[in-house]
């Protein structure tokens, strides 16, 4: 199916509900054959660190770490905002599988080329 979706996730354990639902929607999209990227920015970049999401499990949802794994399994891409990442002094060596650090050009290019965007 044609079309792309960019899911912007701006929260981590400061708002686990938003962080979780962002990945739930991203899973729905990627598993439906839509080219899907999650863009982690501001506090959301903390999710890019291995093990960080292990303690986030909202009632009624699958654990966040499991949602992130299934998103990558469904060929979703995790984009990590570079300045947000550096500001928080996070480690490139601890990136979760499928995550890559990008600047603003990548999400902007996705959107100007037609990707729809939803933010959590």
């Amino acid at each position: 199916m044609a079309g792309k979706l960019l899911v912007s996730v701006t929260n981590a354990d400061n708002d686990p509900d938003r962080a979780t639902v962002g990945f739930v929607v991203a899973n729905a999209s990627a598993a439906s054959g839509v080219e899907t990227s999650v863009f982690l920015s501001t506090e959301g970049v903390r999710l890019s660190q291995r093990g960080y999401a292990n303690d986030i499990h909202e009632d009624g949802f699958a654990p966040l770490a499991e949602l992130m794994e299934s998103f990558v399994e469904a060929e979703g891409t995790i984009l990590v905002c570079s300045p947000c990442f550096k500001k928080r002094d996070l480690s490139e060596d601890e990136l979760v599988e499928g995550a890559k650090i990008v600047g603003g050009a990548v999400p902007v290019e996705l959107m100007v080329n037609g990707a729809s965007c939803i933010t959590y």
Partner: protein, 141 residues
């Protein structure tokens, strides 16, 4: 007992049939507060043509409705349901029919939408005695 119920009752629920191939991973998670463990069980339907319920099958084309695989996704919904469908469909051959049982209230809208996006064909559903069953033919290409 309907033919689907017989399929479900033919072996321990949520456990792959020893006779049939396991066609997908069996992801599971347990909720925080003792939520029901959600698992997928897949099994090849080998019992031969089921005794069909004429009321249920009236609108279907001959030869289209023998499911090859069955997956009970129980209460999975939203993104988890889509991932479960994706995983289940990986083990289904082109043109073969996957039968799904999904009880999430959003499934009756999400499953047709997923079929439109992925190109698989929703043959029938929601249907069955409890209105939570779906027959999906995998796309040929």
């Amino acid at each position: 007992m309907g033919w689907l119920a017989r399929i479900i009752a033919s072996g321990p629920r949520l456990v792959p049939s020893a006779a049939g191939p396991r066609v997908a991973a069996e992801p599971s998670h347990r909720g925080r507060a003792g939520q029901t463990e959600l698992c997928l069980a897949f099994r090849r339907h080998r019992a031969g043509p089921p005794a069909r319920d004429p009321l249920e099958l009236r609108a279907m084309e001959p030869g289209e409705l023998t499911p090859t695989f069955f997956a009970d996704v129980e209460e999975m919904g939203c993104g988890s349901l889509m991932v479960a469908l994706m995983r289940a469909m990986r083990g289904v051959g082109r043109g073969e029919v996957l039968q799904i049982r999904a009880v999430d209230p959003g499934a009756r809208h999400d499953i047709p939408s997923w079929c439109r996006m992925t190109g698989h064909r929703l043959l029938h559903g929601p249907c069955g005695a409890t209105g939570d069953e779906y027959l999906i033919r995998k796309r040929e290409d």
